[in-house]
């Protein structure tokens, strides 16, 4: 063995650390604009919300929000760098600045908002926790589940709601803790557990992947409130405003009848001042946010309005077949209500 060989070995060790350090926290907007790409956290795979299409691109309702935010900030809905996060590592990823925004069907709770140091910027989907089970079990209510094995995703609010529900009803269960929705589905189909519990939308999404969805049923009990929404780090109000109003633009666009198809023509100016303010042909809302005047045009052009986004990935024409329900606009009998663009 010669000296040169040692130096070779040492040189191997000199392999430089990959990946550049990037700047996070304080001025997220400037950082995203400098990077030219939005780092957005989504699910590791949940049909309807975040999943890969045949081309290998991440799409879905949550991914659509990321796209909208990128369009708002960068004018390009495709300038998104998706980070797939588990229920467990989503919060550290956001806290550390690894991602700029998190849209991973995350429930808005007191402790997450206050104690964990995040800012929820609104509700993109009103949900509640339900149960799915086989029809062959012959039961019609979750309260009959005494002694059942229940699959749950660890690190989620559903894990805690589940314990509460069974304790309040004085019945027992065997928890089968699972890391991701996909694994939970595998365990449920293998009959490792009798029922699977998660957000009702997640149940619908999971059911679409079953060979015979009609063999399974969602029990009527909704055991919790699960307002799902995007969130950002606390302490950067400017960025939180952008994230919040991107969501509001989607909802207001539906209310005002602005769609992906007509947004370009409406952007030239319309007879509705509210539309004009939103799309930037009147007033200077974009400048107040530190963005372009036509930022909202880019948002709607990239993903459409809330209704289009919903129907594309979750609605009755998709495999999930979810009705708008309480996620309809307030004037259609739902509870979706965005503040005015003024």
């Amino acid at each position: 063995m010669k000296f040169a060989k040692i130096t070779t070995a040492l040189a191997f060790a000199g392999m430089s650390v990959m990946g550049a350090a990037s700047v996070g926290q304080a001025a997220t907007l400037a950082d995203v604009q400098a990077a030219g790409v939005l780092k957005c956290g989504i699910n590791t795979g949940l049909p309807g919300f975040a999943y890969t299409n045949d081309a290998g691109d991440w799409i879905g309702f949550d991914a659509g929000y990321c796209k909208a935010l990128a369009a708002a900030v960068l004018g390009d809905g495709d300038a998104v760098d998706y980070h797939n996060l588990t229920g467990a590592n989503r919060f550290p990823a956001l806290a550390s600045g690894e991602i700029d925004a998190l849209a991973r069907n995350t429930t808005w709770t007191f402790s997450r908002d206050v104690d964990l140091g995040f800012t929820f910027i609104g509700v993109s989907y009103y949900d509640g926790q339900g149960f799915i089970g086989r029809r062959s079990l012959g039961i019609t209510s979750a309260t009959e589940l005494d002694g059942a094995s229940v699959c749950i995703q660890t690190g989620t609010t559903t894990e805690l709601n589940l314990a509460d529900f069974f304790r309040v009803n004085g019945i027992s269960y065997e928890p089968v803790p699972i890391e991701t929705n996909e694994e939970a589905r595998v365990a449920y189909l293998a009959e490792r557990c009798d029922v699977y519990t998660t957000d009702a939308s997640g149940l619908a999404a999971t059911m679409t992947t079953f060979e015979n969805p009609s063999d399974h049923m969602v029990f009527p009990e909704i055991v919790s409130k699960e307002p799902l929404g995007p969130l950002v780090r606390q302490g950067d109000d400017e960025w939180a405003d952008i994230a919040r109003w991107t969501l509001n633009v989607l909802i207001n666009a539906e209310e005002l009848g602005v769609t992906q198809a007509n947004v370009r023509s409406m952007a030239a100016g319309s007879d509705n001042p509210e539309i004009n303010r939103m799309l930037g042909s009147e007033g200077s809302l974009g400048a107040m946010l530190g963005l372009r005047a036509d930022w909202a045009v880019d948002v709607i052009a990239a993903v459409g309005n809330y209704s289009e986004l919903f129907e594309r990935y979750l609605g009755t024409n998709t495999a999930l077949g979810l009705a708008r329900g309480q996620n309809a606009l307030y004037k259609d009998g739902g509870i979706l209500y965005a503040p005015p663009m003024r």
């Binding site: 040692i6 070995a9 040492l10 392999m15 290998g56």
Partner: protein
């Protein structure tokens, strides 16, 4: 009767061939399979087991298997294995989410690994001198190829996945841990108390905890330790903790190599008037590292297998890609096939490296 007196033998009796029962196939079978009744029994049981396992396995894996199709429904009426996913998902297993039009970069980096490793693994190489310079440059070339920049399209590390992620993390971990491990090993033998205590502490802490806790540290704690305006990609953070972890094991391997060196070598180096660092670099370490190579290779094998742990923090290595594919409705129920392929990939790499390490050990043994 004089004719009858016994004449001494004056010529060698020619060697007779061994009895037919102890040579050739018959002899081999007798000594190796049928030497006693117990052995006859064991051999029979062995044959029975083989007969029980091998033909059905071959039928399942090859003859009854389905190879072509687009999803598991192509295997609907199969009895054997369903290898259809290999055709459909091969690229994902290898490259993860690396852009498909850029995968040539990964391939080139992998191919270049062979000449880069050659001078490290083989003593006598034609043109070894030049190859060594290449080995020196390889880590930088590979990093440049995988990440990009300077004209090549930049690929963020969160696109890394599949077997390529396992290989990247494993190789980066082992190469980076080598210098750290050497320093720790020297420090552990140092006479300076603070240096020694620090090195022992570092080594024992990292050897004492499971790697999985280190993975969580990389995912959740490391970001907290860094300045607020700085953030590292998850893959990079994983490489950092894997390096620290492997360094502790590396240090112990190299300590073993250092201990194998004759005291006379130290004394000779001192007699020549060499300083500590000179005597280490020129005399001691070259020999110690030579003795350590089998241990280093074994550390690499262990580390390489452990790279699958990245799945607990949501990275998509080959195992996680397989696992999520099995959960995909199109591929549901192909667990055995998928895991068999992944196991085979790891087995091929680890087994061949361990064979190499074994032959190296034998060679080192004789050269002493």
């Amino acid at each position: 009767m004089t004719e009858g007196f016994h004449r001494p033998q004056t010529e060698m009796i020619p060697n007779r061939a061994a009895p037919a029962s102890s040579v050739g196939i018959v002899g081999w079978v007798r000594t190796n399979l049928l030497s006693s009744w117990v052995n006859v029994g064991l051999t029979l049981i062995g044959f029975y087991l083989i007969w029980l396992i091998v033909p059905p396995l071959l039928m399942w894996a090859f003859f009854d298997a389905t190879y072509i199709g687009t999803d598991r429904f192509a295997c609907e009426d199969r009895v054997g294995a369903c290898w259809v996913f290999l055709d459909q998902r091969f690229a994902q297993f290898l490259y993860g989410f690396y852009p498909s039009e850029q995968t040539w970069r990964v391939n080139i980096a992998l191919i270049m690994l062979i000449p880069a490793l050659a001078p490290l693994l083989f003593d006598k190489m034609p043109g070894g001198k030049y190859l060594r310079w290449f080995s020196l440059a390889y880590p930088f070339i590979a990093t440049f190829l995988l990440i990009g920049g300077f004209g090549l399209e930049e690929i963020p590390t969160n696109k890394f996945g599949g077997f390529m992620l396992n290989i990247t993390v494993g190789l980066a971990g082992i190469f980076l841990s080598l210098p750290v491990g050497i320093l720790l090993a020297l420090g552990r033998r140092s006479q300076l108390p603070f240096v020694r205590i620090f090195c022992i502490g570092f080594i024992e802490v990292f050897r004492g905890v499971p790697l999985i806790t280190m993975m969580f540290t990389a995912a959740m704690l490391l970001p907290l330790f860094l300045p607020p305006q700085m953030s590292l990609d998850l893959v990079v953070r994983v490489i950092v903790v894997v390096t620290a972890f492997a360094s502790a094991y590396m240090a112990e391997v190299i300590r073993g190599g250092l201990a194998a060196i004759d005291r006379g070598q130290y004394e000779a180096a001192q007699a020549l008037g060499l300083s500590y660092w000179k005597s280490m670099l020129l005399i001691i370490l070259p020999q110690a590292l030579k003795y350590s190579i089998p241990g280093i290779v074994n550390t690499f094998i262990a580390l390489f297998k452990d790279t699958t742990l990245v799945i607990v923090i949501g990275l998509f290595d080959i195992l996680n890609i397989g696992r999520s594919m099995v959960a995909n409705p199109d591929w549901l129920g192909l667990g055995i096939e998928t895991y068999a392929i992944i196991a085979l990939s790891f087995f091929t790499v680890c087994f061949s490296i361990s064979r190499y390490s074994l032959s190296l050990e034998r060679r080192l043994d004789t050269s002493r």
